[in-house]
């Protein structure tokens, strides 16, 4: 089957400082990848570069997403093509309601596909259905985007948005940070419910904890801007018990 994403020798800098120093990664449909690594290894930079955040400069390498040159696309084009980034720190947008925000996004996706916008009733039905996946109270829809949401509510909102946009590839950046056990379970269950044979997920995390719920097929360890180890799910457990030192020393 066609690769969803092919990252080759990706180098990226911010303010002249090189953070990613040659990333190679291929994700196929149906796969769940985990990227682990200590603080400052470049995990969040990788997700930001893939989503198209402007202040990062790609200095070398290529990224193909469903055959297209991802690096030439604007953030919104990447979203329309089927890429989704779950933010580590979801942004609050006071004055823009959740419903207005997601309705605009969903209808923009539909417009790109040549579909008519959803009617208010159709949107509401879809919204309730997807909110149920993360056990989110529909009352949240009338509130400002993420405004006054707890850490757990923000992360649930990310997965709700993912469900609404139905991406081909979701990159979840530290989705487990700031979650208690219950919220972690709800978020992970949500992600698992959205898993299909034609989509894929990259889970970026510090800890093994999340990977008890979202079981990866492949685990990568990122260190100083490079993937230093790739293996099966047992690697995550090994990192949990032994830390990163043994891998770093092996480098």
């Amino acid at each position: 089957m066609e690769n969803l994403i092919e990252i080759k020798n990706l180098h990226a800098s911010i303010n002249g400082k090189e953070i990613l120093k040659g990333i190679d990664l291929v994700v196929r449909p149906g796969e769940v990848h985990a990227i682990m690594g200590p603080n400052g290894s470049g995990k969040s930079t990788l997700s930001a570069v893939l989503a198209g955040k402007e202040n990062y400069e790609v200095t070398e390498g290529t990224v193909k997403f469903l055959g297209q040159n991802l690096l030439e696309m604007s953030p919104e084009e990447r979203s329309w093509a089927g890429l989704f980034l779950g933010f580590q720190y979801p942004i609050e947008i006071p004055g823009v309601t959740n419903v207005n925000f997601m309705k605009t996004a969903v209808n923009e996706h539909r417009r790109q596909k040549g579909l008519a916008p959803l009617t208010a009733a159709e949107y509401l039905k879809l919204m309730r259905e997807k909110m149920a996946i993360v056990e989110m109270d529909p009352a949240f829809s009338s509130r400002g985007v993420n405004v006054g949401f707890s850490g757990g509510e923000k992360k649930r909102n990310e997965i709700f948005q993912m469900a609404m946009l139905d991406p081909k590839l979701a990159i979840l950046d530290e989705t487990d940070s700031g979650l208690d056990v219950d919220a972690l379970r709800i978020v992970a269950t949500g992600v698992n419910k959205l898993k299909r044979t034609d989509n894929a997920t990259i889970v970026i995390t510090h800890y093994q904890r999340l990977l008890d719920y979202i079981v990866p097929d492949i685990v990568h360890v990122l260190y100083k801007g490079r993937i230093i180890k790739t293996s099966g799910k047992e690697l995550a457990l090994e990192v949990e018990t032994r830390g990163y030192d043994w891998l770093i020393k092996g480098e």
Binding site: N100, A105, Q112
Partner: protein
Amino acid sequence: MENNYIYIPDKSLQDEVEFKCRVPLENTDQVFVVDGEGENRGLRLGRGEILPRLLQIIQVRSRQVEEDLSYSTDYILEEGAQARVLLCSHTLSMLDFVTHEDVNIKLGERAVLDMVVMQNEHNKSRHSSAFKVEMAAGAVLNLNIITLHGGDISNSVEVSLNGKGGECCLNGLYLADGTQRVSTNVNIFHNVPECHSSQLFKGILDGESRTSFSGRIYVAKDAQKTEAYQANNNLLASESAKAYTRPHLEIYADDVKCSHGATVGSLNEDELFYMRSRGIEKGEARLLQQQAFAYAVLEKVSNEALRERLHSMVESRLRGEFSECANCSKHCC
């Protein structure tokens, strides 16, 4: 009620300037003031008199009168009287209009006036409005000034709180682009104890527009238990727009609650990226942010139908489309 103001019938308007409001709000009485024509405009309500319907005063400048115009209007509400007024100003042709308008408001004890000012004029129009308000004990004024469009618009508001328990709520939204100018000058005089005033003025500036806000809250020595708040927030949507703001408190009493705050900022990049990452196109994301910024002021408009209409007019204005009342056939500015 007809005696309280001059009504210029549609017919003569049709003949002279071909203007008619085709989309009036429900439960509204409309009055047209063409080129400042007519004495005794405005409103006089006797003791306890309550205006049941919204009074919409539509002021238009037409090509019939090219010279500068200056006129004044009185709104006098005696004790316990209540009224809701929508004051619109439009320009019907592209002449370099200069208009000066004095709006004198006198509110008797416990009188309530809810006034929305909607300014929608063309790029060469210069319009200055001076609102002078005197309030007796327990009187309530809600004044919302929505400046959608205009060449050089100046609004000055002076409120004297002269009786205990007066409440004055002033809000404004100004939208400017191109080389437009909007200036706002507010003076609130808390002359007596136990009055409440609040101000929320917000501006969205694009292009090379300039706006200025200067607001003063004066609290007299005896005006204890005064509560007075002021906020002015400006959003710069371009790099060459400039917003000036000068908040000013002058307090001589020692038992008061007063605050002021002024901000000038640009669109939040993190918010923009978040929206774009969800597939909301850049221009639309910027628009959503600007609408969100304007939201708080428009929500202060108490009449729901009018509020909805203003929301959509602000949206089309921010989209760079002509903002008109829904389905109006006349491009009146």
